[in-house]
């Protein structure tokens, strides 16, 4: 479906009515699944993702790469000094507008698994769990752009829920640029958080940063983009990641507050001055 991007110049509004620097609605939940060690549910606009974390646990019998995950830590089947991060992404057939069945060997899915497991292996303190495995399975229920970003954010939430020590939040966001051709260089605005339509039409990248810092832990760009615009896109993306971090932080704090009020966990010593309302 070709998207008429020419209207952007008139009112500076995007197809879904957002300004260039606005995120879509992000709604997150953690501890959605009682049976898992950690779990989360994340909506970024109409992109809906569920994440379930099992582990760190003893690695099960290897089924000839059946788990489909790329190994995060170096090593062969749990004999390494670091925990292995195995990511498994299931894209439901009903997630897109037209039903499309993706098999296990789908290259795009494999690449996202690889990116995700590398990103998380760098951020999780895997050295604390030698000879073990952290299984992260992600279910895509509905997709409308920024899929990889949503997956990274959901995995972060679930890892926090599972209580796996990590350096900081890994938050991700997409950024794009309004025009695809070189002539219109001055008029091109960077865009934050692309939806599916924009993703089809415009150059875009996914960037993940660590916590509040500007440290980029993952950067994926699959489209052609003018090198002069890359900097702007990256700046907008990193800025978006900080906004996402705030939102994820709120989600986790809200859950923590709830658990303390319910008496699920004891109030820690340092928490006495925390405002519980």
């Amino acid at each position: 479906m070709p998207l008429d991007t020419s209207t952007y110049g008139l009112a500076l509004l995007r197809v879904d009515g957002r300004r260039w620097n606005e995120l879509r609605r992000i709604h997150g939940q953690i501890r959605t699944q009682a049976a898992a060690d950690g779990s989360s549910y994340l909506e970024m606009g109409h992109t809906k993702v569920m994440c379930v974390v099992t582990g760190p646990s003893e690695p099960g019998p290897r089924r000839g790469g059946a788990a489909g995950g790329a190994s995060g830590g170096a090593g062969s089947g749990g004999q390494s000094k670091d925990a292995e991060v195995v990511v498994n992404i299931v894209i439901a057939g009903f997630s897109s507008v037209d039903r499309k069945r993706r098999g296990r060997g789908d290259k795009r899915t494999l690449e996202m698994q690889f990116t995700l497991s590398n990103t998380l292996a760098a951020t999780l303190h895997t050295h604390l769990f030698p000879h073990s495995q952290i299984n992260i399975s992600l279910h895509v229920l509905s997709q409308d752009g920024s899929l990889l970003a949503a997956l990274i954010n959901a995995a972060t939430l679930a890892c926090v829920d599972a209580g796996i020590p990590m350096t900081d939040y890994v938050t991700a966001c997409t950024a794009g640029s309004t025009s695809t051709y070189a002539a219109n260089d001055e008029g091109a605005d960077p865009l934050l958080d692309l939806n599916h339509q924009e993703e089809q039409e415009l150059p875009g990248l996914t960037v993940a940063t660590l916590g509040e810092s500007d440290k980029v832990v993952a950067l994926v760009c699959e489209s052609r983009v003018q090198i002069s615009r890359l900097e702007g896109m990256l700046a907008v993306g990193v800025d978006g990641c900080k906004q996402v971090r705030e939102i994820l932080d709120q989600v986790i704090k809200a859950q923590g507050r709830k658990m303390i009020l319910e008496g699920t966990v004891d109030k820690g010593t340092g928490l006495n001055d925390m405002d519980l309302d």
């Binding site: 699944q33 439901a92 039903r99 299984n135």
Partner: protein, 376 residues
Amino acid sequence: MASSTNVHLSPAELSYLHTSLSLNPPIRPDGRSPTQYRPLSAETGILPGTNGSARICFADGTEAIVGVKAEVEKTRRRWDDDTIFGENQNQEEGEEQDEGEEQGSSDWVELTVEIPGYRDDDSGTVFLGQMLCEALLADGGFVRRLRINRRFHWKLYLDILLISPPLSYPLPLLSLTTHLALLATRLPKLKSEGDEDPFFDDDWAAAPYLYARNPTTKRVTERPPVTLLVMAVGGNVIFDPSKEELAVADVVLAVSVGDDASSREGGMDVDGRSNNSGRNLKLLSIRTVDPPSRLTPPGVANAANSAYGHAQVVSTGANQKMPEARQTESEAVEGVWKPPRGGAKAVVMGALVQKVLVRGGVADEVLDALEGVDTS
């Protein structure tokens, strides 16, 4: 099946479990009665991008999501169907169409099961999918609903996702979720008539349900099938077994039952609720599921094993030489569980099916409970 039900229990623990389950009444590890299901929470219509969707969480934390998508597909003409379009049109209005037209084909439904950590071509996953699909296709009534006209039909894609790790055999969970998703499924309202290319109303609010509601009571008149997992230990019949219970099962059956609405059409509208007890259950399919015990080869004592240098065991002299070896193989030791050998007794199988189908029994109860879920 085998891979999803790895329980690490010692023979003594298994024996304890087996004994307590074969008591009368049986004592289940989680304190349920033999016919009691695990409590569950359910919701439908969770994904606006699908034609119908449902999510069920069992109390033990297992969770599944089912999404249904429909596409219009051209019906392939059957080779023996020599009628010409247009010729038949007039008589179609008035009288009942000939039987061939009414029938659907089983490839109008595509069902996939996704279990995290397992390949989609894993034998267990394929078997699960087949069992669920079989129940739907068993009486041909389901595919008949998908017919649009003589040239077109709906192709229904059912995608079943198990979200949680497979803690117990997920068949009952997946079946109940599929049931609810199908109940919540709506297809766009047809505006075209006859055998024209189909043209639909774009008002989603006008879209009718795949399983029609009664206009006055707003209740579903006919329901999709459910598949129940039943197992027997000794003479006891146990429903919705957990993983540990399955490990000591003698027989495990997956029984699919449907609600046979055709036989009670008359009384249905008149006395809504009270009619439920009069539900006519229809047996659609039965599958035996291999419990883990059946997949464990019984051990052979070293003394009887030719690999240990006792090749002459087969000869006639062996029986006199090692009578104790023969004994250890057949004799049951108190407190040590041995996998059952041999097939299930016909009486037990009969009792299993009987227990499911009996009026006011478990299948009735499950269907009643599912009726309580708001699917509109």
